[in-house]
Point group: C2
Chain length 424, copies 2
């Protein structure tokens, strides 16, 4: 069973949130001596992106327990939040490492204190390789990149051998019609042989991303694909193309982590790693749908997700003002594409406040979004007014997070206790 | 004719681009003594957002000359770039002020040295009002907010009179089915009367946004709307509800600025202000389409846009690597929704490089975008390889800019000479 990373020491210096750069949105203007800012009493400039600390803690522990139970390591994908303070919390809760998509993201994971950084993507280009070489030299970290072509392996070998470094690589195994990745066993074996013969590279195992497999029989196809991937790792090990102890097998986004954990847990001799990312923030849109599928599979298969108790909670809210009610059925909200995700469904109105008191928001629905505005449909009889606060939940947390440099962290009384800074 | 703002002094301290925070994307790793970084020779980590300085200068001057010719003031909308260094350039080229959508954006305009800041939006909420009060006290600046309801006017009056400040306001005049704004003359007059009676407010004129008017006869409808708006300002002035010298009339996004300038230029006793924003960066998508309409109207009407010579140029490029060519007709590019706009058309492949040499990119076309990847269709016979650089133009510059904290500025040899930082 994976051990919590007890030696985690964050190199990330907590920023001084008393000094926000001029023009920072979603923060306070009038400093309070107790450092507590009420959203309901308008002590924070809106719009603001707010995460609820209790939901973060719930999600953090839920997924770590899920991984622990299945004896798979958790390497949360960091691209969702790109927030070093949240990476540190994930590592302290027991995450094996942090998964990233780019070299710049890898550096952020390193300053947050990750000892294992898994780049679930190809490392391409001279300057990008130089950034990873710097990271390997400056941080006490095991870094892994994916590779799916001999061209890229040759480029990496040339760069890292000349730099007198050895880069850990995972072969990406994909599916026809999918994203990156070798498409069949033959390509994988050829590439593994090439890597073995190349200087400056060490093959550590196999990486897959099952999230590109769709269709009514997706679960069956994914299980077959995962078994095939495990078999490949075992074949490469037998053929001594992988020579490390406990080779890595890694997969899983936020939709199919249960199936991946289930399949991988049958192979304790491998270092099995799951990489969900959105679970920490969660949402009321596409990831809520995905999680409902996880829970429904758990009910069907006596899966651990049901035993575990509770569920993931949507942790992110957007707080914004009604700017105008120019027509009886239309309100214009001060929140737009600069502030909130819109690519996987518009934000949902969850709550409202007027003069510090809760407001009935039944029937209010976002109908369109522009750069700086959202239209909300106002049902007959609803007396929404200019200055009312609406609180929205979201779909696709990544696209909301990348709009904000500082995210408010609130307790369950909607009081902001501190801010975390993002590094997009 | 509006005078160039000769007294413009930027309070914006140029950031020290030798120290990028860890995890910053799209910058250099290995510092060079000459401070010049070749994109083609891979001296910058990709993906990178790059603006071409010559195109920026062209666009800057083109629009300023257009405004000068029509004797209207230019107050570029800052929401597109939110880049103080670019605001400063716009002010130095003669812009009257900077237009913004939010109080936080107003603060950024102030540090960039704007003496007039026009918030083409309502000012709502205690903390937001406090931010504007701070701005009015700390900066030598004339700030204007829009108002379209007596509720909002009452809230503003209470706050600013208690703060012993006078807030300049413009009444927003809108159209049925549009966004914010009073919907008819009666509403406007009632609000103007309310403002006159309220403490802490000074009515400066009228604001419109014609960009919400659509349809085959949009130009005619827009002209009628603009004439109606001018008439309203004149009526309010006659009725002494507006008492300032040379009341403000302001309109125009990037699509109809020619029509707005044409209509407003007939009224030299008014302070006419146009507010296009995207012209500075421009694109090869929705704003190119809009500009083609401007040029086509100019050809039809002997408009000045044709006399002026030249045209706006797309100034923004995304440079990114081919990460994988997993199937003969599919390439996966290391650039995704974290890096580039995708809401108004996918980025277009314009150029390519391999080992420092130009690459034939004919027929390459983006077909899908994910958080960190773009799929490109590879035509038969094209030998695209892992490690090749593709250079994309974009549609809707605002959504690309808000993904980047530092934008590379390149000369016409694709050499990065400096960076500008954004303040989203």
């Amino acid at each position: 069973m994976p051990q919590a990373n007890k030696k985690h020491v964050s190199k990330y210096q907590e920023f001084d949130h008393k000094i926000f750069p001029a023009g920072t949105k979603g923060v306070w203007v009038n400093e309070k001596s107790d450092g507590r800012y009420s959203l309901i009493n308008e002590e924070i400039c809106l719009p603001a992106a707010v995460i609820r600390e209790s939901a973060i803690k719930n999600n953090l522990n839920w997924m770590q327990q899920f991984a622990n139970h299945h004896q798979v390591r958790l390497s949360p994908h960091g691209k969702t939040t790109m927030t070093p303070a949240l990476f540190s919390e994930q590592l302290e809760a027991g995450a094996w490492g942090i998964t990233v998509a780019t070299p710049a993201q890898a550096e952020t994971a390193a300053i947050a204190g990750a000892k294992h950084i898994l780049m679930a993507n190809q490392l391409v280009g001279k300057a990008n390789m130089a950034l990873i070489a710097r990271l390997m030299r400056q941080h006490d970290v095991q870094f892994y990149a994916c590779v799916d072509s001999c061209e890229n392996a040759a480029q990496l070998s040339r760069f890292f051998s000349e730099a007198s470094l050895t880069l850990n690589v995972l072969i990406e195994y994909g599916v026809p019609g999918g994203r990156c990745g070798c498409r069949n066993h033959e390509e994988v074996e050829t590439l593994a042989g090439f890597i073995q013969a190349a200087k400056g590279l060490r093959l550590y195992g196999l990486e897959v991303y099952e999230g590109v497999i769709h269709g009514a029989d997706a679960e069956d196809k994914i299980r077959l694909f995962l078994r095939d991937a495990v078999m490949l790792v075992e074949q490469l090990t037998e053929k001594k193309l992988i020579t490390v102890d406990s080779p890595i097998i890694t997969g899983a986004g936020s939709a199919w982590y249960d199936i991946v954990a289930d399949e991988f847990s049958a192979h304790p001799h491998l270092t099995a790693i799951i990489r969900p990312g959105c679970y920490l923030i969660h949402d009321t849109g596409i990831y809520q749908d995905a999680q409902q599928q996880v829970m429904s599979r758990a009910r069907r298969n006596q899966g651990y997700a049901c035993e575990l108790g509770g569920d993931l909670e949507s942790a992110l809210e957007l707080w914004a003002y009604v700017l105008s009610v120019p027509e009886a059925c239309k309100a214009v909200i001060g929140m737009g594409k600069r502030d909130v995700a819109f690519d996987a469904g518009l934000p949902l109105v969850e709550r409202g406040f007027r003069d510090g008191q809760p407001l009935n928001v039944q029937g209010l629905e976002a109908t369109a979004i522009m750069d700086q505005h959202t239209f909300v449909n106002v049902p007959a009889g609803c007396d929404l007014k200019v200055g009312d606060i609406l609180v929205f939940s979201t779909s696709h947390p990544c696209l909301t997070f990348d709009k904000w440099r500082y995210i408010s962290v609130a307790d369950d009384t909607d009081t902001v206790t501190h801010f975390v800074d993002t590094r997009f």
